[in-house]
Subunit: 354 residues, 2 copies
Amino acid sequence: MRSDVSAPTANASNEYALQAGFSRYRELTLAGLLSAIPKREPRQYLYDPLAAHLSRIGKGIRPALCIATCQAFGGEEWQALPSAVALEMLHNAFLVHDDVEDESELRHGEPTLRAQYGMPLAVNAGDTLNALSVKLLRENLAVVGRKLTLRIFEEVDHLMLESLEGQALELGWMRDNRSDLMPGDYLRMVLKKTCWYSFIHPCRIGALIATREGADLDRFNRFGYYLGIAFQIQDDLLNLIGDRRKYGKEIGGDLLEGKRTLMLLHLLRNADYADADRLRGFLSQPRAERGEADVDWTIDKMHRYGSIAYARSVARHFAGATLYEFSRAYGDLPDSDHKSFIRDIILYMINRDL
Amino acid sequence: MRSDVSAPTANASNEYALQAGFSRYRELTLAGLLSAIPKREPRQYLYDPLAAHLSRIGKGIRPALCIATCQAFGGEEWQALPSAVALEMLHNAFLVHDDVEDESELRHGEPTLRAQYGMPLAVNAGDTLNALSVKLLRENLAVVGRKLTLRIFEEVDHLMLESLEGQALELGWMRDNRSDLMPGDYLRMVLKKTCWYSFIHPCRIGALIATREGADLDRFNRFGYYLGIAFQIQDDLLNLIGDRRKYGKEIGGDLLEGKRTLMLLHLLRNADYADADRLRGFLSQPRAERGEADVDWTIDKMHRYGSIAYARSVARHFAGATLYEFSRAYGDLPDSDHKSFIRDIILYMINRDL
């Protein structure tokens, strides 16, 4: 079913421009990713798995936001490209380690590196993606000069630590089977884990490059925060009630892992004594012992107690606020295809199948 | 027992200067490491475990080599300090992920991060050490300027990829229970996994900073390679026949993990059919099913087939060659306490308890 976010929806020509934009940026990014992989040994244990993994990247929202923002601020595509590729490389480093940490089997409908090559080689492969992203950031030198290259490193330092801190919160909450968390805890965790690296910094870096530090970069902070929250809640909802073929991961996987989503926090706080007790018991089991019947039971309770509707409504509010913040972050720029593309990305993201 | 490396041994006053040098550099490095840890949440799930881990760093050979080389080339201690701290931070990132990959329980006689906090938080903690090391490298900016800061990033890019490639080889060989490897494979793997990041690049970066790119840095490549091989073989021997209280890890742990050490390669090639068959069978079991009796049996066979003696003799040859290469790498410098300290480090390392 569709979400009922009350926002202008993309019409057919917008939709065409949006997909064409995504395709172009994705193609540039993919070429950059693959050419960053050293063409040497050890292929079997390192570089072949990485190339296979990278050739399956998703839509490339992060590089698209970075390059399009650079262009909307008057910069050129090629100026933002090394940074955009580095951001996508970093994103993939996070994904590979996420899959290790969560012991996930599927990603984009294919076996994860961990599932295919084993945990040890997957940890090492993720580390290598990290190292390659640092190397890519140094390639900025030939494109934007020394000063800006180091300034971009500063942005990346911040996004790395925020993401790792957010990830530590999420993993720690799962490990300790926390049931005392409030919606504010969830929002703070997602700001850290997702918003900075996926939305705020890609825009900041794009504008930084275009304006050579001339723009006030904090204009993107609220915009990326709201967009990231709307995105993450939708992603969490898709994991529960999405179409497996489209989603490409195990449906209900977040519940098997015990992820503290907004729906789960709502259910833990609102279920009656017996249901909450059963839920905590289910979550306290080792992952291997959590079964599909428990997942189905939990999703059913989330519908009954209004947890799904609650999360949808929060996502809808953040989506609306994102549109307002878009006008604050990009409103003073002249109209351009790039500015329209970014607006269409937002509409696309907040209108995904729910 | 002592190794019988035929080399000048440190006398009492050398020994005192050596330990005093190590202490000073270690203290500076430790202060830098601990002050690089953000003083904020999430403490429980991230920064407290990292601070506890870093407060147990070893002797600090990498920062000592880096700073002393900088000084031997006429530079100042403070100029090399951010790089030295970053190298030790990176080393610890490797150790934390090594312990995850090997499922190790002990490190420096204490539980590993993985054993204490679980695999997921340990993977994330290792990633954070990595991110903090990149942040530290950016602190070079205030000390050595933009150009050299970026030049040091280039050195670090190389050592990262070499180390990760070497680690991929070692992990892949274990995973596939390889019995077709020759001594040359081992040497190449150790060059990649250990020598670049532990010995060659610390010296290169120290000299780079002191001479502002004036020195030929390749002079350290052979020196660090030989030193690293001598060091690694000794480390592998200590794992088999060392004193547990001094070593701080599980004795025989490498065999339980199936690590392709020089001794194991020798035994696989030289054992008779029945023994080689039993050995391969033992190595093909999951780690949990490999027991102490198998470890004892293997160590006994390594003595009988001369595998221990063979590895000792290779280590001794590389140790001798290291002394020769020391004179090529540092011989043209004026005598100084720093130059003597580096020579004493070599003597110390190649004379460790065997």
